[in-house]
Symmetry: C2
Subunit: 254 residues, 2 copies
């Protein structure tokens, strides 16, 4: 009666980006748990229960799914993008560690997915073509000063930076502060990519320079990629430019 | 006659990790280009030409594929994992920038895939559950000193670190030097994950601590994830442990 829990990455949104492995895991589940808009991507089935919860209730959702699986059920927790990147897999692990011994007996499968930075990068070229980092701008679970130290460290040593969770209603100023911080390290012409709702209705992609980056352009559905000193833009007639970071890098000035 | 070039991410290897979008792009191509072992993953078809080339010939391969597409053909370049992460998309962009105007008229599509760090992370829990970076240890295209600066910056500010290309025949000592460098910043008990050939025959996953990490365990098919101070290991009876990095972080000591 140890049960099974799959944490399933739905990718950026378009069903064409959902892997067969994710499809199978969803099909095999007796019960689905997830943030409402993610659950809505999975076609309803009469023999499958579903429990939608709010965006901020990751731990409660993870615990409920684990309790259900511990009864011997096949349960799936759906996650946007990749479950291991600022998503549900860590919340599930936190609950397993904090929970009863029965949680450790559950057969847990994490099904990877296309995370937002890969989807956005693919749309515009290859901005993550060299060393890069992924940083959440949410200071709900870490101090803002730590985010600033990471921005400093990454920008000053030439990592391209993918910014997750740039903005929310409760966090209106953080993205602007991050851009201001990055301007201390990077030239004004550094390319910045805004990717909103990529592969979903309302998709928007724009490329701007760091000095002109307008933080009002980002919302909760936006993933931002800030280039390094090496990141380049190739203009193309009648098309979006290609943004890429060459595979070769010279020494970064200290 | 502008042609079409798709740069297609095959994911870690198992066909169940290949997205429908990648399948479609492969099916639509008249000609396939790629590193031999990656091409071998794509079933042969009589009406589709294929040109295999060596691992180190990325730019030559990209240029040949672009010339072919510029003649008006539908061409696909296959890439392991995600084409935008230490793979073919950047090489293609380099050739477009350096090449004739006709290359900029080609309709280019990058099809994202599950990159190795996501596949390895999913197998063992959620080690990338907090801020992280992806760093190639190859010093073919950048100076070793720059790699060391990036290791210092990432480890000292609490990024989890995914190490691509830890070892090759021509680069025997770099991985050991990187581990030694990381030991300056991180406690001996920091979890380290070795993921070899994940989702392919011969898959191996192991979890070790930084002080005991044996660099002889890594080869060209290995992706290594070095945790941060916050990364945790949950032992489980009769199963691999779960390794995860909690979503919350405290201040990192300077």
């Amino acid at each position: 009666m140890s049960g099974h829990l799959a944490v399933v990455g739905l990718g950026p949104g378009d069903a064409r980006c959902l892997t067969p492995e994710a499809d199978e895991a969803l099909a095999a589940a007796q019960a689905l748990y997830g943030y409402g808009p993610y659950l809505d991507r999975v076609p309803a089935r009469a023999d499958q229960s579903r429990r939608a919860s709010d965006n901020r209730e990751e731990r409660t959702r993870a615990a409920a799914a684990l309790r259900h699986a511990a009864l011997g059920a096949r349960v799936a927790v759906v996650s946007g993008g990749d479950p291991g990147v600022f998503a549900m897999a860590a919340a599930v692990c936190e609950e397993i560690e904090a929970g009863p011994e029965s949680f450790r007996l559950i057969d847990v499968t994490i099904v990877p997915g296309i995370t937002a930075m890969l989807a956005v990068a693919a749309r515009i070229g290859s901005p993550l073509g060299h060393d890069f980092c992924a940083l959440s701008l949410s200071d709900n679970l870490k101090p803002w000063e730590l985010i600033e130290r990471r921005l400093d460290a990454a920008a000053s040593t030439g990592f391209v930076i993918a910014l997750y969770n740039p903005v929310s209603r409760a966090r209106p100023w953080q993205f602007g502060a991050a851009i201001a911080r990055l301007r201390r390290h990077l030239p004004p012409a550094t390319p910045v990519v805004f990717g909103r709702a990529v592969t979903r209705p309302g998709e928007q992609i724009s490329v701007i320079t760091l000095d002109r980056a307008d933080t009002a352009e980002a919302d909760m559905a936006t993933l931002v990629i800030v280039g390094s000193r090496d990141t380049r833009v190739i203009p193309r007639p009648g098309k979006l430019p290609l943004v890429y970071t060459p595979r070769a890098a010279a020494e970064v000035s200290a």
